[in-house]
Amino acid sequence: MDYNGLVNDCLKKDKAAQRELYTHFASQMLGICYRYTKSMADAEDVLQEGFIKVFKNLHQFKGSGELGAWVRKIMVNTAITYLKSQNRYQYDLSYADSSLHPVSDENPEIHIGTKELAELIRQLPTGYQTIFNMHAVEGYSHVEIGGILGINEGTSRSQYARARALLISWIEKNAVENKTGKYARK
């Protein structure tokens, strides 16, 4: 796909081009927004705000980079801003180590589906969920996460380790339940 041509058309306020750009990235970006939020309605709100930012800042996009990565970055930033602004996420977003979860260095095979895994990630406390998404999926370093979320690098690292351990335990539990269910059905 010729992203540069598409971007240029969008900058000329070509509605068809804008719609095409939106359609091309919307479903993938909604997946990202979904991972960061707790409901589909919230995810759609983030998606909407994210795309508004994309179109309003499209002139800043450097043609040399990957458009998808640029849009993705905007979506992640929008999601984090959204979480910070929401009253109901405030409590969960505190990164204090008040409730410690055991750290695990296990590396299990993930035998569950994409949506099941996404649901497990979304069940993490918002602070864990955010840091896990940023580090494990988006590939941000703990220094970057600390800068974005306004926390120490160490806090980010420890929060991530606990989030990872919690998620692995849920994945294993899920796998066992699936297995039990499977044998029970047999």
């Binding site: 306020k13 509605k15 804008q18 719609r19 939106y22 919307a26 479903s27 993938q28 909604l30 997946g31 990202i32 979904y34 991972r35 589909m40 309605a41 919230d42 995810a43 759609e44 709100d45 983030v46 998606l47 909407q48 705000e49 795309f51 508004i52 179109f55 309003k56 959204y82 602004s85 929401q86 009253n87 109901r88 260095d105 296990e106 590396n107 299990p108 095979e109 993930i110 589906g113 994409t114 949506k115 895994l117 996404a118 990630i121 580090h135 494990a136 999926v137 590939g139 990872r164 692995i168």
Partner: protein, 511 residues
């Protein structure tokens, strides 16, 4: 040891790699509402011009136009009458002067000829319909001309010369006296009009010569056929009509210059005057006077009733919005210090809240209901807004108001009077898009049944008056507070509309 760390990192990367690969596959198709909202925002879709705005504008312009037409039409008809009267008075003076001159020089014939010419002119004017509007005493001028004719006839006979001489002497005397009287009338008209005094009492008392020696032969405006009182009344009618056309009367410039502007302005409208008003400022919700509504006790949330637990959603904070209004009013000065206004006013109020996307589907919400004894009751809504904070929503209120205000001038500076005013207004909510919040399901929905459409407001402020020629402009700060709650008692905590801003009044006066 290093090998162990490296292996752990490798394992970590393997887990993250699996997560990343799976999450890359995570896709959802968004609802159409998302694109519609994005499209609307990025392309700055022009807001539909609301017909109600144009309706009010139309009504306002029509009212203003009708008011102007009424005032200017009345003024023009008065001006036309006065113009004719002034011309007649001038002609009378001229004729009187000619007569005096002719008698002085013995040129009776010339005077007769002139008077005949005048008679013909009057006849023409009569036929043109001008005479019908003139007061009787001016039309009686014709009899003066008849007498002059007869005087001329007698003047040729020798036996009547003495009589004629006596008559001529009387005529000259009375002409001079009446000329003086005319001058006095004009002077008094000028001075009296400027100072707001009635000129006639002076004349009746003998300061002028009219009532002393009424002589119709000299072209004086007083008719001897009428009783003095009637003549005065008729004369008063002329003078009253003369007031707005002072420019047509020869003026004493020095007197005019001495006339103080403030007194003139003070006198400008002692009767009803039409004025226009405009207001602009900010509006907000307040729980009580000077206590702004917060999100915890906003118009969309009730804190004085038991809320089913757990309370999962909090409403948006309420932020102030823009407010403006315009209207027309009638102004009446009650005294030097007091005046009052009554009129018709359109006022727009707004507040801002942050909400989520609109969802066009039926769902059940919980709202306070008086039927359920003030408890929450489930109700069905056709559409709702999610509880998010990414869309700025403007709650709009369109009111028609009937304000009654009393104004009191605080200072003695008549050029720039500072007035304090207080008003009571009754208003009706014509249209609104205001949203209510359901703290249980966390959605915003529209329900006009929860709103008090009839409102009573109080307002106060200071107005600084500025006079420009014949117009009056007043401007100053105003605050307004809704005495009645915008929400019905059964719908939640009392919430009152509050306005603060600048008010401008414009009163165009008759020239």
């Amino acid at each position: 040891m290093l090998l162990k760390i490296k292996r752990a990192n490798m394992h970590e990367n393997e887990f993250e790699k699996q997560v990343r690969e799976k999450m890359e596959e995570l896709n959802f198709i968004p609802s159409d509402a998302v694109w519609e909202s994005v499209d609307k925002k990025i392309n700055n879709e022009k807001k539909r011009r609301r017909p109600i705005f144009w309706l009010f504008l139309f009504v306002g312009l029509m009212t203003a136009g009708a008011g102007y037409y009424f005032i200017s039409g009345k003024k023009n008809s008065l001006l036309a009458i006065n113009d004719r009267l002034q011309r007649q008075i001038k002609d009378d003076k001229k004729n009187a002067h000619n007569l005096y001159q002719s008698e002085k020089t013995g040129e009776y014939k010339k005077g007769i000829l002139e008077n005949n010419q005048y008679e013909m002119e009057m006849e023409k004017a009569k036929n043109a319909g001008i005479g019908s509007n003139l007061p009787q005493q001016i039309r009686k001028k014709e009899s003066v001309v008849d007498d002059n004719k007869s005087d001329g006839m007698y003047g040729t006979e020798t036996g009547q010369q003495k009589k004629s001489a006596v008559k001529a002497g009387n005529k000259i005397q009375s002409t001079i006296e009446n000329k003086k009287a005319d001058d006095n009338v004009n002077k008094l008209l000028l001075n009296g009009n400027q100072e707001g005094q009635d000129v006639l009492p002076h004349i009746v008392k003998g300061e002028g010569n009219i009532s002393k020696k009424p002589d119709h032969k000299t072209g004086n405006v007083i008719n001897k056929d009428l009783p003095v009182d009637a003549a005065i009344k008729t004369d008063s009618a002329i003078k009253k009509k003369q007031i707005p056309v002072q420019d047509n009367i020869p003026k004493n410039d020095s007197t005019d210059k001495q006339r103080p502007l403030t007194k003139n302005m003070q006198k400008i409208h002692s009767s009803w005057a039409i004025g226009y008003t405009a207001m602009a400022g900010i509006s907000n919700m307040s729980e009580r006077l000077f206590q702004p509504g917060s999100y915890a006790n906003g118009a969309y949330y009730s804190s004085n009733v038991a809320i089913p637990s757990p309370l999962t959603h909090l409403p948006s904070k309420i932020n102030m919005g823009f407010s403006w209004g315009a209207g027309i009013f009638m102004n009446k000065k009650l005294s030097k210090k007091f005046s009052w206004n009554a009129g018709l006013h359109y006022q727009y109020y707004s507040t801002h809240i942050n909400i989520g996307n609109y969802v066009d589907s039926v769902r059940y919400i919980y709202q306070l209901s008086s039927n359920a004894g003030g408890a929450y009751q489930a109700a069905r809504v056709a559409g709702y807004y999610n509880d998010s904070s990414y869309n700025n929503f403007t709650n709009k209120y369109h009111f028609v108001e009937l304000p009654l205000s009393l104004s009191f001038i605080l200072n003695k500076n008549l050029k720039k009077p500072l007035a304090w005013d207080a008003a009571l207004s009754f208003s009706y909510l014509v249209r609104s898009n205001v949203l209510q919040f359901d703290p249980i399901s966390g959605v915003y929905y529209k329900n006009d049944a929860m709103i008090n459409k009839m409102q009573a407001n109080i307002s106060t402020g200071f107005m600084l008056g500025i006079y420009t020629r014949n117009n009056e402009l007043q401007l100053g700060p105003q605050i307004q507070y809704g005495l009645t709650s915008i929400l019905k008692k059964s719908a939640g905590n009392p919430q009152h509309l509050f306005f603060a801003g600048l008010k401008v009044l414009y009163i165009p006066h008759k020239k």
